[in-house]
């Protein structure tokens, strides 16, 4: 890390969705930081709130029915949550850029690649047409696309999945952002293409001293790209810390259970651990710890009190006092 001051600091973020009869607490008090040149992964299964968290940083949560019910999002010491539309527009795509999961739906099918990259550049900077084209070509080269001049004239459907994702990354890089938020950017891609895209992101990050907030459900990807991990469950962060600390010595029962349920060749012949029960409805979360109905370590206090975050070494923290106090064995 270059310096200790965080680039992005999310503090006690709460994002709720209101309907006539209920309030879904999609993000329920989430705090984490992303340092300079750091890759932080938000990991969790469907419905844990990771995408809503990312959208909140970009100011893309639809309001209403969404509502920022609390917290701050500090980007270079400024609270993005109090920015108006114009101020957010100046940040979006410029200092913070986003790469989405499905490149085919994120790219406009009726415009050429050149038009779309050009737009990404011109939204924030005025430049003559030939310079825009030149920079677009350079961006395609930076993301490893062969024959960039020709590709600028292509339409999205003429490119492969991997190429489209590279174009999305090129668009995100167009204005040299300090932070890229990548939401499951490789889920829709083949495994070997995924490996290429991950290597690409890594090299770009190094070259441009960028930070990355990576959102995924794939623990394998996390093990490759993360500096630090935040494990999310039912709108809260269950555990966070440096990658090795969380993956090798997990301190929250949910993280432990998740790792124990991953299939691999080593476990052949053994039954996979499967977490009993289901993820709670965000509008009807249990009292106390949201994970307690499914937790094999749960005690009475877990059902009544919302657990405090417990600190381990080196920034490793987990929201489970039972494990903290009892030093229980891993699953």
């Amino acid at each position: 890390m270059v310096d200790n001051k965080a680039l992005l600091s999310v503090k006690e973020l709460k994002v709720y969705f209101r309907s006539e009869h209920e309030v879904a607490r999609a993000v329920d008090g989430v705090s984490f930081k992303v340092g300079r040149e750091e890759t932080v992964c938000l990991v969790g299964e469907s419905g844990c709130g990771k995408t809503v968290t990312a959208l909140s940083v970009m100011g893309l949560v639809p309001i209403p029915p969404g509502e920022i019910a609390g917290g701050r999002i500090l980007f270079e010491d400024q609270n993005l949550l109090v920015f108006n539309d114009n101020e957010m527009q100046a940040i979006r795509g410029n200092q913070i850029a986003m790469v989405f999961q499905e490149p085919l739906t994120s790219l406009n099918p009726v415009f050429t690649i050149g038009d779309q990259i050009g737009e990404a550049i011109q939204v924030h900077q005025t430049a003559p047409q030939n310079e825009v084209i030149h920079r677009s070509e350079q961006l395609l080269k930076d993301v490893g696309i062969a024959d960039p001049a020709q590709r600028l004239k292509d339409y999205p459907h003429q490119l492969s999945g991997g190429q489209r994702q590279r174009v999305m990354i090129a668009m995100a890089l167009a204005c040299d952002p300090e932070l890229i938020i990548a939401d499951e950017p490789t889920t829709a891609l083949d495994v070997t293409v995924q490996a290429q895209i991950l290597r690409l992101l890594e090299s770009i990050q190094k070259k441009r001293s960028m930070s990355v907030l990576y959102i995924t459900h794939d623990l394998g990807v996390v093990s490759k790209v993360a500096d630090r991990i935040c494990v999310m469950y039912a709108g809260i962060i269950a555990e966070q810390g440096k990658k090795d600390a969380v993956l090798k010595t997990p301190k929250h029962p949910y993280t432990q259970a998740l790792l124990a349920s991953l299939p691999n060749r080593e476990k052949r012949g053994q039954r996979l651990y499967s977490i009993p029960g289901t993820v709670p409805n965000p509008a009807y979360k249990p009292d106390g710890c949201p994970f307690h109905p499914r937790c094999r370590h749960a005690i009475q206090t877990c059902r009544e009190q919302y657990p405090l975050m417990c600190e381990y070494e080196d920034g490793h923290r987990a929201r489970c006092p039972v494990i903290f106090n009892g030093n229980k064995e891993k699953l």
Binding site: E45, S46, T192, H217, G220, R265
Partner: protein, 336 residues
């Protein structure tokens, strides 16, 4: 024959299976070439065993599934089910055999009729299996739902009322309703969350054990394949590149494409130190198939011979076959 010398019944045997699709161009839709979607594919599945069919999108693994199910007619080769040649059977002859081979799909949201209750979807299979009486159907339905870990009360509900994992269980119950010998699982857990994946994988294993089911497990996820499968076939552009018992494939991969796949998977337990990089990003965009090895555009070991010769499927070890003249020979790992 397995190690004990006893005979395992071979449920499915596929030999030199071929399926070509024509490329048509122009106003008169003239055939200008062929896509060799499935080319000389051979493998077998023993009773109560699982064969993993691994490959990336477009490699032909779903086409292979359709050929085995006889949803597509093969252009060449043989399909033997329980020793019987079913390749050329017509619709009428195939009908009594259809119950023997079933399929579970990848998308739990698309594979169930939204206008039929869970019970109705599963009962369709029971009707086909000749169970028509109301009480018998209810009895079987209850048993099937219990077998897949769902409450009998589910039968009156509609698919949209269930989660992805639960719908997948319904799909499994439906496949089981006709008491098949072989189930083709086409990426059955790819669309599910990790904790649900584990439940479904455990279920498939239990059922295999209880019912002596055989599985053709199609997947791109080598971790799941490594956990579940006894044998693995690696496919690329229509051809099987490597075919071996699971441990042999992971511990001693031979084909360059297998190396590429294994090194691309993060966190997979493997014995190789080196990471292999393909020379090109993805399978090429050309539709027409080429001479020589289909991996020539991406293989770091490619030579002239690879572009012209017919590459045979060679024995590289006991039960271990590879489609690569270069690496199959002496079994030494070219990547060390």
């Amino acid at each position: 024959m397995n190690e004990n010398g006893s005979q395992n019944t071979i449920i499915l045997q596929v030999g030199n299976l071929k399926k070509y699709f024509p490329i048509r161009r122009g106003f008169f839709q003239k055939i200008t070439g062929w896509v060799r979607a499935v080319e000389n594919v051979s493998f077998q599945i023993d009773r109560a065993k699982t064969l993993g069919l691994v490959g990336e999108s477009g490699c032909g693994k779903t086409t292979v599934a359709r050929l085995i199910l006889k949803l597509l007619a093969a252009d060449g080769g043989q399909i033997l089910f329980n020793g019987q040649d079913i390749t050329q059977l017509d619709e009428k002859e195939m009908k009594p055999l259809r119950k023997e081979i079933q399929i579970i799909f990848q998308d739990p949201y698309g594979s169930l009729n939204p206008r039929m209750t869970v019970g109705q979807s599963i009962a369709e299979g029971l009707n086909i299996a000749g169970i028509h009486s109301r009480s018998q159907q209810e009895q079987r339905l209850e048993k099937l739902l219990k077998m897949v870990g769902m409450s009998p009360a589910s039968s009156d509900r509609f698919p949209h009322e269930f989660s992805g994992g639960q719908r997948q269980r319904v799909g499994i119950a439906r496949a089981l309703s006709v008491e098949p010998a072989l189930i083709i699982c086409d990426e059955p857990v790819s669309a599910l969350d990790v904790s649900i994946q584990a439940q479904i994988i455990n279920l498939l294993k239990d059922l295999q054990h209880q019912l002596q089911l055989s599985y053709l497990f199609i997947s791109h996820d080598l971790n799941v394949v490594g956990y579940l499968c006894d044998m693995v076939a690696v496919m690329y552009k229509g051809q099987i590149m490597e075919y071996a018992p699971t441990d042999a494939l992971f511990d001693h991969p031979i084909h360059p494409y297998t190396h590429l796949l294994l090194s691309a998977i993060p966190d997979v337990d493997r014995n190789i130190d080196t990471e292999m990089h393909a020379t090109a990003d993805e399978p090429g965009r050309t539709l027409k198939s080429q001479d020589g090895c289909s991996f020539q555009d991406r293989c770091p070991l490619v030579e002239n011979r690879c572009r012209h010769d017919l590459i045979e499927f060679e024995q590289a070890g006991p039960d271990h076959r590879v489609r690569c003249w270069k690496t199959a020979r002496d079994g030494s790992d070219p990547f060390f």
